[in-house]
């Protein structure tokens, strides 16, 4: 078995089973002992496989930003490649669901999709807060370019952009990077968000997130962290994690991939500021960020009820069985208090 998608019909959740990423049981054993006793961060010494000079080792780029015009040359500033250990792959033809007996009918699909890595900078030691905002904007443009490319394949329904920073947040490489996974199915969380947004719109004739932006910038400002011309960062009203922060456009927009140059530059500045604050406040914490944007496909452009955002979550607590079992999170940092703290983190001028 190479890779497949399976549907957990009790939990309504798609699972990607990827034997290519697979390990023998003995690999898990080693990993586990290491992790239970303490989880040494991967070494930070370069050069690594994401550094310039390793282009041919990594395979052809799917997208890059550089001054020159030769693909796969080492003069890139941002480079996108297929993940070397992909969860899904475009090498599948037939997307007919199959199953196993009557009980798991239509619960199986080939592991079709795209799993890509965005190498955010040629510099082995720099992270988003240390890059110029104009460079961060190029990382965001790489996300846009790839999402827009996926829009052309009608088999792909959903794309998740995400970043794992630090071993505890799921990263295996320290060289600054993020990832995209595009799938032929719509995942559970996205279905829930789209349904909630649609229901709110039906009830109120307004976009839920537009109402949140208005509420948090005008009525109650206690969860507002920072803002600029086009964006705000807020602690969400009901955050799952301590200091969870949403970066939200002030203007209504359902598709991140369609925003223009001025908005991308403003977003890059606020993203850089937010991650810089977290690095200063929490001592370079592991974190994830995930982009929540509309589904793939032209019919999902300019939705009046969905409003995209970027969800940034430092790993400062360890979810356990309660969260896993119930889907309810215990958060020991009230968002109003967390926002006040992050609002007041002092940043030296750069």
């Amino acid at each position: 078995m190479a890779s497949e998608l399976r549907h957990d019909q009790l939990r309504q959740r798609w699972i990607t089973i990827s034997d290519k990423r697979g390990k023998r049981p003995s690999d898990f054993e080693r990993m586990s002992s290491q992790r239970f006793g303490g989880s040494p961060e991967a070494t930070n010494r370069g050069p690594c496989a994401f550094c310039p000079g390793f282009e041919l080792v990594n395979g052809h780029e799917t997208f890059a930003i550089r001054d020159g015009d030769q693909a796969d040359a080492p003069d890139w500033r941002v480079r996108v490649i297929v993940n070397k250990y992909p969860a899904v792959s475009m090498d599948y033809g037939d997307l007919q669901p199959t199953g196993e007996g009557a009980v798991f009918d239509e619960c199986r699909l080939p592991g079709f999709g795209s799993h890509e890595v965005v190498i955010e900078t040629p510099s082995h030691d720099l992270n988003i807060p240390e890059l110029p905002a104009s460079h961060v904007a190029e990382v965001l443009k790489a996300y846009q370019a790839r999402i827009n490319w996926f829009q052309n394949d009608p088999r792909l329904k959903f794309c998740q952009v995400f970043k794992n920073r630090g071993n505890r947040a799921g990263a295996s490489m320290t060289h600054s990077h993020s990832q995209l996974i595009a799938l032929p199915v719509i995942t559970h969380n996205k279905i829930t968000e789209l349904d909630s947004a649609q229901e709110y719109y039906n009830d109120h004739k307004r976009c839920m997130m537009c109402d949140v932006v208005e509420h948090d910038t005008q009525s109650v400002r206690s969860r507002l962290i920072d803002e600029n011309e086009f964006f705000i960062t807020i602690a969400p009203f009901a955050p799952s994690f301590p200091y969870e922060t949403w970066l939200v456009p002030k203007f209504h927009s359902s598709n991140f991939e369609s925003i223009g140059e001025d908005e991308i530059q403003a977003m890059a500045k606020l993203l850089k500021l937010t991650l810089r604050k977290m690095d200063l406040a929490f001592g370079y914490p592991p974190y994830n960020y995930t982009l929540q944007t509309a589904l793939l496909g032209k019919e999902h452009f300019n939705s009046s009820h969905y409003h995209w955002y970027l969800d940034i979550a430092p790993h400062l607590a360890t979810p356990g069985g309660f969260e896993m079992g119930s889907g309810c999170y215990i958060n020991c940092m009230p968002p109003e208090k967390g926002a006040e703290f992050l609002r007041n983190v002092e940043i030296e001028p750069q």
Copy 2:
């Protein structure tokens, strides 16, 4: 603010915000540096606050199993207490939802509920696999007793029993223990499971999990790990985690808390065997288990469509932004291969 429940209306998820468990930002900073660099397991040296002799420090027990008849005496074998850092508490009267403006209307409840710790053994150094099966049965009976007690309070709707073992699985104490959290709301995962089970029942006029049991024991046995008279352990068809294992009653039963003596003894044996196999195979890994049983309230007794089970998940991989953002999991261990491995782990006679 002491503790409150908030509803994330976009993700349809309840969050517990507990300032009692709260930390100052500087606490997070220390925690983060420690964790990012490596996560030292809490010291395993006894005695700790869960050891006999500390009964008065921990406060009155809510339940215990002992030979004597004096509450809070140190001769217990299993002891249940209120969590010292509770996510919720019974000290709230009014359960009327409140909100904040129009956008967060009815999204707030006081942090009402019960958060208890089941100290599974007086021995500081023993875990479930090292306890006699008859003692493990007493731990399960403590779960039953507390769930049945919560049934008497009509304000409580949902109870999650769970165990965190090891720092990476969310445990802060090494002394073997599990926890219960009872809430006045029904959480997202439970709503999804109940809806799926109901829908399957409507379509097929049979219980989904009864069909899974029949399929996995008779048609396709490749995910079957172990079985005894009343229970099986299986790798689920679409597991979120490598080596995730479900312990499922072979007989139809919606309420764990109502099963009888013979069934509890059989469950204890299979639970002990499963955790022993994981300890041997993966070198004492961190893990969670969570009990998925019916909602609280007599009207949920003997449901024909819901079937309880215990979900055991060793922490051998680190979910990242993809899982957080999409709700879809990447699992690099096909369940058939994982089940074959666990089925063949050799256990010395005990």
